[in-house]
Amino acid sequence: MVSKNCVAMILAGGQGSRLGALTKNVAKPAVPFGGKYRIIDFPLSNCVHSGIDTVGVLTQYEPLELNTYIGNGNPWDLDRSHGGAYVLPPYQSGESGEWYKGTANAIYQNLGFLEAFNPKNVLILSGDHIYKMHYGEMLRAHQEADAAITIAVMPVPWEEASRFGIMSTNEKGEITEFAEKPAEPKSNLASMGIYIFKYDVLKKYLTDDERDPGSENDFGKNIIPKMLANGEKMMSFTFEDYWKDVGTIHSLWEANMDLIGNEPEFELSNKHWIIYSRNYALMPQYIGENASVKDSTITEGCDIDGEIDHSVIFSAVKVGKGARIKDSVVMPGAVIGAGAVIEKSVIGPGAKIGANAKIGIDPPQEGNPYASKYCDHGIVLIGGDVEIADNANIIKESMVVAE
């Protein structure tokens, strides 16, 4: 086989437990985002636009929906005869076989896959970030510098720097120090969890790390510090565009809200960097006689007869007459009954909200049976396929999960 210059590996095995009911039955990368996408569409589309045509997707937690979604990779133009998209679950081999223990171990277990393509470089991505990035530019910088590893970093506000893995760099952009969530950050360059390794370097460090019984087999905790200690050439690549970790219900909601407006924080309509997704045969959206839609995005298959204000409505959502939805995210196939009122909520896929129900209107209260630590900042999450009765009242900071 012809060797590849760069193969991408997307770490998509995480549960994303802080997304609560949204990841009850699906892995985090398969969580719907932005009206018609899923989170994994972003790294996959970025790969294709960056000229990377071989992508391994490492799955572990609730893989069915994610595997089905990726399929043969066709929606991202990744159905290739040589290369393309591969779903890589943990597997049994000979007498052994085990779950992925950490990010580094997950790649280690798939060295056989990488070996088949014999790439010069390996791009490691995580499947839970929303951003548009040209990995090709990062790869060029990596190769020009002849670095062992290049790590994408982004400047974050100083006051937030202690929440991230922080890289200190010298004037040449070389990484001199790495600190995971430092109390007193020396730099405000946060690691984005995007790495390009020289393949032989990656192979060596992963193999050594696997032999170390004390290691947690994690890139951030083990591999990067070890490389620094060994004096490898480690470069930073600064990214200054929109990037969002959608690890919590509130951040997922916020990232959806970032798509709204005449000049949104994050623009998806750029025809030169289309985010691809699996398309279903749905009709155009129908906006009814009684509807009012303002400051929102709506997509195919919807049938809207209520009032929508400052919200993101996903595909095939039905909104009954007199319903009012404000500052909310309504995921695919949800049905909102007539007269229901919804504010600052995330309504999961296929959820049914009864007529005249109130969701996220009344303030949080002691003794709320649906109170959840995952729902802060006043947000409400109604899990996928949950049915809320007519006239029900779900107060702020509630999470309702299907039984």
Partner: protein, 372 residues
Amino acid sequence: MRYDSMGIILTGDENIAPLTDIRSSNALPIAGRYRIIDFVLSNMANSGITNVGIATTANYSSLMDHTHSGKPWDLDRKNQGLTILPPNLEKQNYGTIKGNIDVLEGIRDFIKRSHQTYVILCMSNMIYNGDFNEIIDAHIAKQADVTIAYKKLNTAGEDVLKRYTLLDINDDGRVTDIEVQPYYPKTSNGSMEIYVMEKALLEGIIDECSARGDVDFIKDALVKQLDGMRVYAHEFKGDLYKVDSLKTYYNASMSFLRAEKRNEFFNPERPIYTKTKDQSPTKYGDEAVTTNSFISDGCEIEGTVINSILSRGVKIAKGAVVQNSIIMQDSVIEEGVEINHVVFDKEVVITKGRKLIGQESYPLAIAKGTHI
């Protein structure tokens, strides 16, 4: 899967100026994200037919761009699948196609090398959502030579019936007479121009007609042999639109604003497939007003849209008012524009403050790329 039958779609070219100046009528955008051919192609796919040929006559680059490999219909197959059949102009009929027999003669090789027993032959200007298995099964049960699908157009006026091929049918369902677009319609059984027959019979008809210089499959082959051949009719109970003029195109499109028509034509059990474009969701601005409209993805709406159909990527600026109109892909309606009863082809730009008013009985159609 319907392995015993193959599909042939003849793309008759209706003149719906100026929309058909640049494309054949079967590739005309309709209902926002679709093309007219999507209906018959999806019906084929939903009926489990996996060998489909589209015989083209002229202006077919738009059609080819749309169907591509046949992927949206799951017709990108290693064996058979979708075949686009350009006109065969190297025969003696060079440069002129006098009738559909010429077209069929041109695709003889395709028909010959297909291994199915039955052929379902359709025209591309009819819009319906139906299951071809019903008519093929009826054809086999009746041991018919040819079975024609028809729709009872009982409530249609003479002006409508005149545009159809009409069938006289006896109590047994046998066709006793066929009239092509008669001046004085005798019956209201409108042919859907869907014909089922054995492949061998179709090949025989092509041979015989071309040997005699006959050019029309209906007038020359069927009508003249109604006594000798068992030609049966099979009633279709769903809705049917024949799109052969701007008026019929406009009316068919506007009917999709009614829920019962959307449910009939876009039945989720038998989806209509089309080429996907990966457009981002449609954005509504803070002053947008939209009611009773069918809107595709990738639009930006800041003005008012009432009783209208928008294709993908249409921009409606603040203060613009769009009513009772069909606006195709990537058209731009600038600030303060007022339009009513218009059909804009793709990439039409209407600049600030202009007005363009058609009539319900006479919608105004504007050619692709026009700047007003």
